[in-house]
Symmetry: C4
Subunit: 196 residues, 4 copies
């Protein structure tokens, strides 16, 4: 099996998903700063979804780095992640166009949870079908247990918060993305060392 093609295909989908969202950002009719302000809530959703998918790309990059053998199960789990992520532009546009409607934000929370579950599947398949050094295993497990659990809890908490104030939900989601964006030096070091 050809890992490069799986990466190239996934990279293509990540890049397209992240870019086409901007097409949902409706250009304001007027040409003043005030007109632009009407786009701010939509822009905020766009930024959050861009970072969310960007973090998936980043982690995909790390995880596939540890994969030597691509089998049918791994391709299926990968396809599931890409399918859930391909729904992000739709739910993002829905939240933006309904001005953070409560139930739209609930659906958005669920849309963030779904790829997270497929991701755990992908990671466990990658672990079973490839040799991981104890060091790598320890770090990826730790990341999954700490950051992964925090993320799931926050995404799920977005559902009740949407009934109190949908902006709290969206603000929490942004925090999760920022948490993942902080470079994980430990993972980098191990992946880099193993290569040598």
């Amino acid at each position: 099996m050809n890992k490069n093609r799986l990466e190239a295909f996934s990279d293509g989908m990540f890049a397209i998903i992240m870019t086409i969202m901007i097409l949902d950002l409706k250009v304001p009719a007027g040409g003043t700063f005030k007109d632009l302000q009407t786009v701010f809530p939509a822009f905020f959703c766009y930024l959050q979804s861009f970072l969310f998918v960007g973090v998936y790309w980043n982690n995909h990059h790390h995880l596939l780095h540890t994969v030597k053998k691509v089998n049918g199960k791994l391709m299926l789990a990968n396809m599931a992640i890409l399918f859930w992520l391909s729904l992000i532009p739709f739910v993002t546009a829905w939240v933006a166009q309904t001005d953070f409607a409560t139930e739209a934000v609930v659906v958005y929370s669920i849309a963030l949870l779904l790829p997270a579950f497929s991701w755990q599947l992908l990671q466990s398949i990658a672990e079973k079908t490839n040799y991981w050094s104890p060091e790598l295993k320890r770090i990826l497990d730790k990341q999954g247990k700490v950051k992964g659990t925090i993320s799931l809890v926050i995404y799920a908490s977005g559902i009740p918060f949407a009934y109190i104030n949908p902006y709290i939900s969206e603000g929490l989601f942004l925090l999760v993305s920022v948490m993942w964006l902080i470079p994980n030096k430990e993972i980098e070091k191990v992946l880099w060392d193993e290569k040598d």
Copy 2:
């Protein structure tokens, strides 16, 4: 001839086709779960088409793995498949927006048959211009004869079923996609062994 570029170009088109379909999924005006329900039929079409093109990508991945030499005929057959697949977002949107109109589902059935015929051409060109081990030949022939024939028969049966109940046609198409999604361990094993 450079097989990598053929793969990269095809991967790009597969990824774009699968992703842009979501742009046809119209965001509901209201922000409630009830509003979202109106999108469900369209969502079902989208999922079916996503899986359909995803299966082509998967099989393309396997088939090109067996190809060492890319000639003009193979590029032409590949281009034909990509052209037919590029029509899928259009027919998907048509089925979704006309709420599974009978004749729209008939056209959708035909749109699923067309790439299938080009695929058979691609496979026979790949077989003629490359060395395939008897084992690989046996497995790909078997897959073509069993799964391929079932798929063609079901896609064609979608036409009469559309006149009875278009949802039966779409349900059958989804079954075909799921059948292909089940990892084929035999192919994986042979492709993997041959590499060594």
Copy 3:
């Protein structure tokens, strides 16, 4: 300079241009075969433009195969081709939506001529900065002189024909694309042999 990135970037743009055109194909409101017939002229334009860009991709593939050294001039000529090609979806949609209006077809003819001129530039830069065997030079020159000249003459003739009957212009353009799609065994053979 990294030829692979130039190819990957160009492949991405070719694939996107060919795929996004379908977004301009408006889904008919009704769900009958008759409704679909209204899309046929637009579909014809789409097919012609798809093949036109597809032929460029194919020739780009061949030409870049002969390139070892990528310099700034070559990247500039390549960018010019991609820019002209990126206008094809726009002019295609214009021709389709105005139902083959005379002046729209004139502009379409010009839009086909522009990348052809940039292509000649790209080929001459590729020839100057890379070693081409006399055999390769002879074949690419012959192709440029015969097929290239025929193409330019027919694209230019599309302008006067648009004033007589725009369908003649479009039919001629389709003929050119088909002429290029016929695999050129001579080029394949030389490129293949040189690789060895």
Copy 4:
């Protein structure tokens, strides 16, 4: 870390951003040359933005050429550039649809400044984490100091000029792009020599 994936992903985003802008170019309703003229201002914006992103691709190509080791910081700076660039289609459409409204051009100027700042970050990270020969360092520094400073000054000057005449701002931006498009033989030579 895998530099190829960073390049492939970035290339995908560059290619998509450059191509989807054309979707914002609204097809005129009528089919005459006069109707087409109404698109000219929008076309001018499109051309300018196409060149702007194209220049980034070109420089990205050069800079990544000097990078052997990709770390998390570099990926973050790269993501920031891609995010700012993904906003270009939006601001381009806004400027075009408001017919060069003063405040829209001010925002466009800022949208050109933002990726420029992220670029300087990317370049300094690339320099710190990779070995650059004194020759390469001298040339890239010189380019950054001369061309980079001119660009920043002109992008910033687009803000006051927008209040005098927005066309002056846009004309200046086009000049900057053309300045960058002129192949830099010095850089090419050094990058090429270092490879050997």
